[in-house]
């Protein structure tokens, strides 16, 4: 799978349905030009006033093409959607499988953004397959058949039609895909900046209003809209030019076909009964492909999306997994880190960190943003391997353990745990599918969320995530804490569990957490050296180095 690429692999899996879809598509396009060709022949032949019986064949053919066109369209639509659904199912599963080992540490500093891009890319690939690849393929084939038929009747018209098809179905679409690229990129860029603007307005709107700064946001929006309009108008102008050109080329092509037919007629190379056939074939086949080119303006982005997905296969996994699970002590021992070093893109994030977490420890880890706190946490939970130094839990070195083994002992709640689009209970049961209602309620209470539960319209069954019920950043974090409390692993790392709470409540939540881990070890990452709880130790990460702090001078 890795070498073949996710999309090709998915296409291969769906081959039977795809083949049916393409065959039906061919039937539709062939019937379309068949209908045009035979009805033209029928009518001109009728004008010669022959015996009615001699018209039976063209009359029958016209009816047949009409029926096969409709039937073919039906099969084509159902099979295309069926195969597209299948392909997208496989692509999604493959992409998820590719992402699994990479998340969260293998995708660079903005992991969440990369994942967002991936989700959007998958949707774009779907468009590429259903809206463009199929129609273009079948109409090209039908075009070639039309060219051949016209060529049999009047040889030179084949060349004209072929040129027309080449221009409208190949050259113009390629041109269209290329010319709109920069404006399509600019529109994408502006869209994401607009998202961040409205995000700020929705979250901190009151702050802007009270500081008299709403005008500056409106100005910012206007600037973005100006950029968007410029790109959009550039793009629609391109689309206008391309669809105008398509119309013009089709028209010129048809008139040229008529002229060539006239010459052939005068030279006696073609009978009068067939005089309308090449022209009407031309009209219908050029109509078939005419709509594709304008919709392709700026389409190269979608190919880039496809390539970006395929490139996921080549990203190096942040963790090396041993083939076999390693031996582990039956009781969790202490976690010991020795001389840890980690570098990203030549920038040393952690240097020579030695550190241990034993039963009963409550360690506060402070330090400025970018000081390496999150990287250290990821190393401890084996989401990431160190460049140098070693880690062990009890007597088992991390190098011998699979990451899932480490995570049976070490829990890590990051600072923005995902809220799934399911009920509050479902969100908690991610951690422990068998948890009872009492366990869920106890975990929420200990994480300081009982008030939230009390105000939820449907209690534990309230739907969360997506656009349903939004949680604040702090509630989201404490939902993560509640999940962790359900499984209560021996060693646990919390990233900013109480941010967004007032000090009184924060202290309460922190002590209830610490209370529950009396038999284990807790590491709390905190932006400021918090004094909410009686820590056994306080350490600070600054510029990649660890410093022990005197408890009284925290801050």
């Amino acid at each position: 799978m890795r070498t073949r690429g996710v999309v090709r692999y998915a296409l291969e899996l769906e081959q039977p349905a795809l083949r049916r879809a393409v065959l039906a598509g061919l039937l539709v396009t062939l019937s379309t030009i068949g209908l045009a060709g035979t009805s033209a022949w029928l009518i001109v032949r009728s004008a010669q006033e022959p015996a009615v019986l001699s018209l039976t064949v063209p009359m029958g053919l016209v009816q047949l093409f009409a029926l096969s066109k409709a039937a073919g369209r039906y099969v084509e639509r159902t099979q295309t959607h069926r195969s597209a659904l299948g392909v997208m199912g496989h692509v999604r599963a493959s992409v998820a499988r590719l992402l699994e080992p990479l998340v969260p540490a293998g995708l660079g500093p903005n992991s969440a953004d990369v994942v967002d891009v991936v989700v959007r890319d998958v949707d774009r690939v779907q468009d590429l397959l259903t809206a463009v690849a199929g129609p273009l393929l079948t109409s090209m084939f039908a075009g070639l058949v039309a060219v051949a038929v016209a060529g049999v009747i009047v040889p030179w018209t084949a060349l004209t039609l072929f040129a027309g098809l080449l221009l409208t179905a190949v050259v113009l679409p390629l041109l269209a895909a290329r010319v709109g690229e920069s404006s399509a990129n600019e529109m994408d860029l502006v869209r994401s900046e607009m998202v961040s603007l409205f995000d700020r307005a929705a979250q901190g709107g009151d702050e802007y209003v009270m500081a008299g700064a709403s005008v500056s946001l409106e100005r910012e929006l206007a600037t973005l809209e100006d950029r968007f309009d410029k790109a959009l108008h550039g793009r629609t102008a391109m689309m206008g030019v391309i669809s105008g050109l398509t119309t013009l080329i089709s028209g010129l092509c048809v008139i040229a076909v008529v002229a060539l037919t006239a010459v052939a007629l005068r030279q006696g190379q073609v009978g009068p009964a067939l005089v309308a056939v090449p022209a009407l074939l031309g009209v219908s086949v050029l109509e078939l492909v005419g709509g594709v080119a304008p919709s392709l303006v700026g389409f190269r982005g979608d190919r880039v999306a496809l390539m970006r997905l395929e490139a996921l296969a080549n990203v190096e996994a942040p963790v090396k997994e041993p083939a076999e699970p390693g031996a582990m002590d039956s009781v969790a021992g202490e976690l010991v880190a020795t001389g840890l070093t980690r570098t990203f893109d030549g920038h040393r994030v952690l240097s020579n960190i030695s550190f241990d977490l034993a039963r009963g420890d409550v360690v506060m880890l402070g330090g400025p943003s970018g000081g390496g706190k999150t990287t250290l946490a990821r190393l401890l939970a084996k989401f990431l391997d160190p460049d140098g130094g070693s880690l062990r839990i009890g007597s088992s070195p991390y190098d011998d353990l699979q990451s899932r083994q480490v995570r049976e002992r070490v829990g890590f709640v990051d600072d923005a745990p995902h809220v799934f689009a399911t009920s509050l209970a479902g969100n908690l049961r991610i951690a422990k599918p068998t948890a009872t209602v009492e366990e869920l309620e106890a975990a929420l209470e200990a994480a300081g969320l009982s008030q939230l539960l009390a105000t939820m319209p449907e209690g534990l069954d309230t739907q969360l995530g997506g656009s349903a019920t939004g949680l604040s950043g702090g509630e989201q974090r404490r939902l993560g804490v509640a999940r962790e409390l359900l499984v209560r692993r021996p060693i646990v790392i919390f990233d900013e569990p109480t941010e967004g709470l007032d000090e009184q409540t924060a202290t309460k939540v922190m002590s209830s957490i610490v209370e529950r881990y009396r038999d284990g070890a807790v590491l709390v990452i905190s932006h400021w050296g918090t004094d909410q709880v009686n820590a056994t130790r306080r350490v600070e990460l600054r510029d990649g180095s660890l410093g022990e702090l005197d408890v009284t001078s925290a801050r």
């Binding site: 009805s39 639509r77 869209r191 946001l217 929006l221 990051d414």
Partner: protein
């Protein structure tokens, strides 16, 4: 998403939003009709050319060729101008909607959850633009272009016109017969597809959480299974869902075939000319084309309809606030029988709050977490309305005062300030260039902050400690020299020494000050909130 309403009613509301909607629609329809006329011209000229070839009279060939090229040029213009012109007219509609959405969000907060609001204001507004500039014109054209074409057919060949008319009229009958179920199935298919996409997004975005609990391989396997199950069940749905497209295709191709047969028979008995017959044949499929185009855009339009319904419902809310002038000097405040709702949910407070705050005094608001301190402060700022009761400013009800000018005179330190801006100066000014460096430096000094005005702070001032952020937000309030200062936990995250500095600074300020706090504060009086009992103790 709320329930979608009828397109005509929706369009009416959109038209009231902006006169440009009508103009965009008009331009798109006119260009569409011009292009239809050009198509008729092309067909007539082409048919006439082919007829001349058949009959050998060469007269008129040049005229017909010229007509064909002329019609082609006209069609090229109409087709080429359609997108650029409608998009240029519709852009200001999008901008206006988005600007009003921003104002609405700023004035009343997120419309639902933050994510949904952001989606609605960005992609939703784009969908509305598409709806206005693309779908509605295509719908109008689907009604008008066939009429034009049928009119031409009727003038030249009543027989064919009748055949086409009957098939066009049969279309809705067919649609109703199989349409109701098909429509439902179509929507079901659409929903299922969206759900699979949503589930995928959920799994990959939540991958870290799933991995953390060793559940990720289950989820990925499940994704495979959900996809396959969906494909199996959907095939049945698809068979019904596409029956309507089958009906459209069948009627249009059968009509074309039938027209061809009738034309052939009438040519045989000499009751029709060849050129007319060919023109009719060329134009028959064109009658069905606009119908097919608007059907193809049905789903793209559904997004636009949903977004427009949601957004308009929010934009049409009446604006809060009155017209009375805000006070020009430091005011006194009175809180009279005010009840609050919890900041984001439905819990209501039991006892009403009463307090009198003299001009220039310093008042503390105390109470346990969740008792409504922050909400009360927002009410004083005019950011929220109380559930009942009133706030009086120098004896005038705040609800009757012009909110914008009131908010200019009040400064507010929120519990969790976001501090947008790149440098210390930018964070404090927050877009107000009239605040000079000297007053910023003075205010920084007052709260014990020693920061260079040009210091780069990173995104949302993440470079600063929480205590520094808090004091910087306080500086942002002080430099605006408000008449009323409303502070939510100004000493949170501060050590004792710095907290005292901040307390002293606040005590020395001349304006009316209301401070929510957990710390003992030297105040003139304090309002104490509890879920059940509220007292006003001196």
């Amino acid at each position: 998403m709320s329930r979608a309403e009828r397109p005509s009613a929706l369009l009416g509301r959109l038209r009231r939003t902006s006169p440009l909607v009508q103009r965009a629609l008009f331009a798109a329809v006119v260009l569409g009709l011009v292009s239809t006329i050009a198509i008729i011209g092309q067909a007539v000229a082409l048919a006439s050319l082919l007829g001349s070839l058949f009959h050998h009279p060469h007269a008129g060939i040049v005229r017909d060729a010229t007509l064909f090229i002329g019609a082609t040029a006209l069609r090229m213009l109409a087709v080429g101008l359609a997108e650029p012109v409608t998009s240029r007219i519709a852009s200001p509609i999008r901008r206006e909607l988005r600007r009003r959405a921003l104002r609405q969000v700023l004035a009343d907060g997120p419309m639902s959850s933050v994510d949904a609001t952001v989606q609605l204001c960005t992609r939703g507004v784009d969908a509305i633009e598409n709806y206005i500039a693309k779908y509605v014109p295509s719908l109008v054209l689907a009604a008008m272009a066939p009429v034009l074409l049928l009119g031409w057919l009727a003038l030249h060949d009543l027989w064919s016109a009748s055949i086409v008319l009957v098939s066009v009229l049969l279309l809705p009958v067919f649609m109703v017969l199989l349409g109701l179920e098909a429509k439902e199935k179509m929507e079901q298919r659409w929903r299922e597809q969206q759900e699979l996409a949503g589930y995928f997004g959920d799994v990959v975005r939540g991958m870290t959480v799933l991995k953390s609990f060793n559940r990720s391989s289950d989820a990925v396997k499940n994704l495979d299974e959900v996809g396959e199950a969906l494909q199996r069940t959907t095939m049945g749905t698809l068979r019904v869902a596409f029956l309507s497209s089958f009906a459209l295709e069948l009627l249009s191709s059968l009509a074309t075939a039938l027209v061809a047969l009738v034309l052939g028979l009438r040519l045989l008995n000499g009751s029709l000319g060849l050129s007319t017959a060919l023109a009719v044949l060329l134009l028959t499929p064109e009658v069905f084309l606009p119908l097919r185009r608007s059907a193809a855009q049905f789903h793209a339009s559904a997004d636009g309809i949903a977004a427009a319904t949601d957004l308009l419902a929010n934009l049409e809310k009446p604006h809060r606030g009155g017209t009375a002038p805000a006070p020009g000097r430091v005011p006194s405040l009175e809180i009279r029988d005010v009840r609050l709702t919890h900041a984001s949910r439905h819990a209501t407070q039991n006892a009403p709050i009463n307090a009198t705050i003299p001009s220039g005094s310093l008042v503390g608001v105390v109470g346990p977490s969740g008792s409504g301190k922050s909400t009360l402060l927002r009410v004083l700022c005019g950011l929220r309305e109380p559930l009942s009761g009133a706030v009086l400013v120098d004896g005038v009800d705040l609800a009757s005062i012009d909110l914008v000018s009131w908010q200019k005179r009040v400064a507010w330190l929120p519990q969790d300030p976001t501090l947008p801006g790149e440098t210390v100066r930018a964070v404090v000014q927050m877009g107000d260039d009239s605040i000079d460096d000297q007053s910023i430096v003075r205010a920084l000094h007052q709260v014990g902050l020693d920061l260079d005005l040009n210091r780069q702070l990173g995104e949302a001032s993440a470079e600063l400690s929480a205590g520094q952020r808090r004091r910087l937000a306080l500086v942002r309030c002080i430099v605006r020299s408000p008449l009323v200062l409303v502070l939510d936990e100004p000493t949170a995250h501060l050590d004792t020494e710095n907290a005292q500095l901040v307390v002293d600074a606040i005590s020395r300020l001349p304006m009316t000050r209301i401070v929510a706090t957990h710390r003992p504060f030297l105040v003139d009086q304090s309002i104490s909130l509890a879920p059940s009992a509220v007292t006003n103790a001196n």
